[in-house]
Symmetry: C3
Subunit: 461 residues, 3 copies
């Protein structure tokens, strides 16, 4: 099954529009790593896909960390003496530093200043700030707003709570023919920031909705969790599931206009790394492969040395590299429907490679089989061979039980889907046998592939 | 023995002229994959070298294929109402599509048109067409010829036969000290096309004539056979010989003015690939190494996954890449004596590497031996070392029983023949021992090399 | 211990000046591969570091060579009929070809000419010539000097002796925690040539003086010996020590203004090669890594196939590549204090990598440890992570017992000293354990690292 063709058939015409409207729905919610904003976000996702939500209590130990207190906020403002709110949480949830402890006081501007954060270079933008692990409070505002503040006294109020409660995350598990899993993970803890990471949340959700009705080789697990502590919590509580992860993708900042960037897993040459590299090489627009580094989003945790999972990170513009990053300018205009839709297509193409990547064995390995009498070789009389026949010759030539279709794609420079199509055709013409997939074999009929079982062992080395 | 020096001593002065005259003798013969043209071609080769010809009957099964009917042709024409032959096989055997079934009819131009083939972009050239596996008939003519045809009726005649008979190919086997073989293969099925492949046929023939009187390490097998079906037939009938092929070259299109191209074997790093790469790197004119692909000439069959033989393909211009390819413009002017002679020299240089590539062991491996007292080190007082001494130092330094001379050539950048000469000199001065060649050992005196037998095992990994 | 910081603390302010004054002291001595000049040179070094001098008698067999006669010279001149010395050994010891046999005769200029050597392209410079292994005599003079010679008779005198005696070399051995050795070797046989090789002698000497008071991982052996025959003699007489050489550097021509060049060992990827490559990559000035070749200085002997030691060669300008090489223009102005000091720093940096390169094991390998609560993670609120935290994350991520700090440096692009500092900090915070160094373990307390002993085995493969 060609997942991209399937996607084109199944999805409504306006996939980009749907993704963007979904993002718009999530945009106003005040999310943080815990609290009601996160739960409301998961509930909104749950309207589209089956999602299990897990609550982990404050104080629970997760490896070297413990689950923090739950933070909630109702209102916050800085009020001038005339009663006007000069900074108002109701206008933008970015105005309050995330995890600010409650405060209600009157103070002079000079005293207040150390709690105010701005971006002088972009005087209209509000920065995004957090203080998860050090109790503090603060306001974020545009630099122009701050310049307009007159000396004098202000009423300062943050009506928040920081109390024992829960950390909440959501999981969507789609069983496939094999219990081996593909993990799709995105951080869901940022407030009104669109690219970072409503883009990831919406694309992952609609990807899950698309995949759930298909008969898939792998099982898929979608994880919507707060950054860092969420991934750590999930890893700590799911050691068995972790062992089944064969491939994984972290989705971050995939709604902006930038070209795609794929950051490789710590392994560096995992199948998902190669699949992403192949897809991006054949993608119409410029893209870039990035080497692994231990700083970033939740691939940091998945690729910690104890796990070393084959999990890469797909982005458009790299977080931190664009000025709108972690500011109010990362808004709904910064992500566009067509960009979101293309990101969903790239994800699908990568999964298509993973789903269809297998080894075949040429059943007529001595010399070429005579394709002409099978109507698989239409000589054109021209000087060049047609692309489809070339794909068939490559598949036949390298299908020795050792080379996967992705190996063949990399060596030939032909795009994976053409080779996969060629392999299907040759298989149905009796020219190829499929080398059993060791992963699949666990759940498939073992008898059928008994003859090939040794090959399975050798192919997996 | 330096094969290139040997060639320069042995061959007549006008090697290029001889090659070209030989091509001119073969040029008019109407060859196809079977039939009298092929047999006459082999007979012409037989005047120069010992050649066994093998006839395989129509219908014989060769792997997934069967030997086709034999095709012969006496005459063919399109005659205008005034009795003039407007297309005449006697003027060029390209005028008839190869394997055309017999036809004798009168028909209107409109009816005839679907059987006419031209090249509009090169209006004076006649195309070359075949229809081996689909019974059909056709005429090839220049576009100008076709434009000159007036409406009306024409007498159309192809006086051919397509009947049970034989496929014929020729083999020239030159026994060497080892039964391990070098295979030189060229397709001999094209009619009046000079570069494709009278260039290959003539170079291969005179190469065989040159080699037959020499005391060689390897045995050599020269194969002159129809493309595709000929190679398949030979492979199907010679499984034992196939196992002895250690190196091989397909020779195609090596008479034109283009730079050399070597297409690597499927293995990609076989000794013949490295030898060809080395020779072309040190060749005076620009050249190019091409990665393996499963489309091409008979390396397709030799490199099918069941065989995976170390056989590459040497070309000048790559077939299909020049406009004259498969047209009447691929004529005797398109190949030139000096180009044919240079191609023979390149082939000889590649074989020279294969013949002389061996491992040595430095018998004075702790520090440098004192070359000066052996008159092998003439200090010049200058600032640079002389090339011959540098070659000696490289051979001594890397001759640890693991590195072959070709390894040393690749690492040092020094041309193989200088290193081979240095090794000879050091060997005769008692500074090197030769690591026995596992291949050679089979036919050589085993006692003499018993002490080194373990090295042989380890050197072959 | 960071060796470079240690060097900066320990050495006097004017390290370059000290090196240059030391070179100036050695400059006038007439050195050759044997004789009093060599012994006086070693005595001068002995004033700075403990140095054992070894005398090997003429005729001693050292592998394929034998120790030559000892050469000494008192005076030499060419005297015109008016009694004036037109060429005078007292003015420059380069005027006499090294190893000139004694001569005292009167001869015409025409007869004398074949014994005179000049450099026509640099008419003021005196060339440097030797004739160690062929008995001969000669004078070197500037081309202008020769042009000024009038026809007529000259008194020619070389008051030298070439007799049975000794070859002398010096060794300075600094024991470290492990008996595994780092070998620093420089040729000490050239007369008044500054870059070649007073630069190497002086840098090596002060490097040894710096290292002798430190508690070092490796033992260090500094070798001051005549080129070629000295290294051969040492290798022949020290087979046990040779087995302990884990890393080595030949120091040659490291005082001139050229950029650094490091010539790799025959192994090509030895730890010292990688350490030097790393240091030069991060060095402020342009530098170049050179592949191994079997011609050069004493790395030729250390890297002969029987030894194949991991010994590279550090240079500034490559010998033979600058016009002053082996001429009187390689004088004290050609080497400069700042250049000598920088060379000593580069050597120290390379040794710093070797001393501190080890493997660690992350004791919190599942997800990242929470650095924040250990005050090891100061979030800046900015968009980029600070360099020191980044180094910590890299060390934690790759410290799986397999990757050494140098591996991490190469993969991350971060300089070794930052990673080493990060590792120290993490180690002292209980986040890392050190994988025992197999070398060190031999002399260290075995019990302490018993638990890790298997790791030691696997890490050394």
């Amino acid at each position: 099954m060609n997942l991209l063709k399937e996607l084109d058939q199944k999805t409504r015409e306006d996939l980009g529009g749907e993704l963007h409207r979904f993002a718009a729905e999530l945009y106003p919610i005040c999310r943080s790593i815990t609290g009601n904003g996160m739960r409301r976000t998961l509930a909104t996702i749950q309207e589209r896909i089956p999602l299990e939500t897990i609550d982990v209590p404050t104080g629970a130990t997760v490896f070297d960390w413990s689950v923090p207190k739950e933070w909630n906020i109702r209102d916050a403002y800085i009020k001038a003496r005339n009663g006007r709110r000069v900074v108002d949480f109701q206008k933008s949830n970015l105005h309050v530093m995330s995890y600010s402890i409650p405060v209600h006081a009157t103070m002079r501007l000079s005293e207040l200043r150390s709690h105010l954060f701005t971006i002088p270079e972009h005087s209209d933008w509000i920065p995004y700030r957090t203080s998860y692990y050090k109790e503090d409070w603060g306001f974020c505002l545009s630099h122009n707003q701050m310049l307009a503040l007159e000396d004098g006294e202000y009423e300062v109020c943050i009506d928040s709570t920081l109390e024992d409660g829960h950390l909440t995350y959501g999981e969507c598990y789609l069983p496939g023919r094999s219990t081996d899993e593909v993990l799709i993970s995105c951080h869901a803890c940022h407030p009104s920031l669109a690219n970072d990471n409503l883009s990831g949340l919406t694309v992952a959700t609609l990807l899950a909705r698309f995949l759930r009705d298909l008969d898939l080789r792998y099982s898929y697990r979608f994880l919507f969790a707060p950054g860092t502590i969420g991934a750590i919590t999930w890893l700590a509580r799911n050691r068995k599931a972790v062992e089944r992860v064969r491939h994984g993708l972290v989705l971050t900042c995939i709604g902006d206009a930038g070209g795609f960037h794929y950051k490789k897993s710590r392994q560096g040459n995992a199948e998902v790394d190669r699949a992403a590299g192949h897809v991006l090489t054949h993608w119409a627009e410029p893209s870039e492969m990035l080497e692994f580094s231990p700083y970033g989003y939740d691939e940091r945790q998945y690729c910690s040395p104890g796990f070393n999972l084959p999990v890469g990170c797909l982005m458009r513009s790299v977080w931190g590299s664009f000025p709108e990053y972690h500011t109010s300018a990362d808004n709904l205009e910064f992500i566009q429907p067509a960009q979101l839709a293309a990101s969903l297509r790239v994800c699908t193409s990568i999964l298509d490679v993973l789903e269809n990547n297998r080894r075949y064995r040429n059943l007529s390995p001595y010399c070429e089989p005579q394709l002409g009498r099978r109507n698989l070789y239409h000589s054109t009389g021209g000087k060049t061979i047609e692309a489809d026949i070339n794909a068939r010759l490559w598949v036949l030539n390298l299908s020795d039980g050792e080379h996967s279709l992705l190996d063949i794609a990399e060596r030939s420079g032909i795009c994976f889907s053409s080779l996969s199509e060629a392999a299907d055709l040759l298989f149905h013409n009796g020219l190829l046998s499929a080398v059993p997939d060791c992963a699949q074999q666990r759940v498939a009929d073992v008898d059928a592939s008994r003859a090939e079982s040794l090959a399975c062992t050798s192919a997996s080395h």
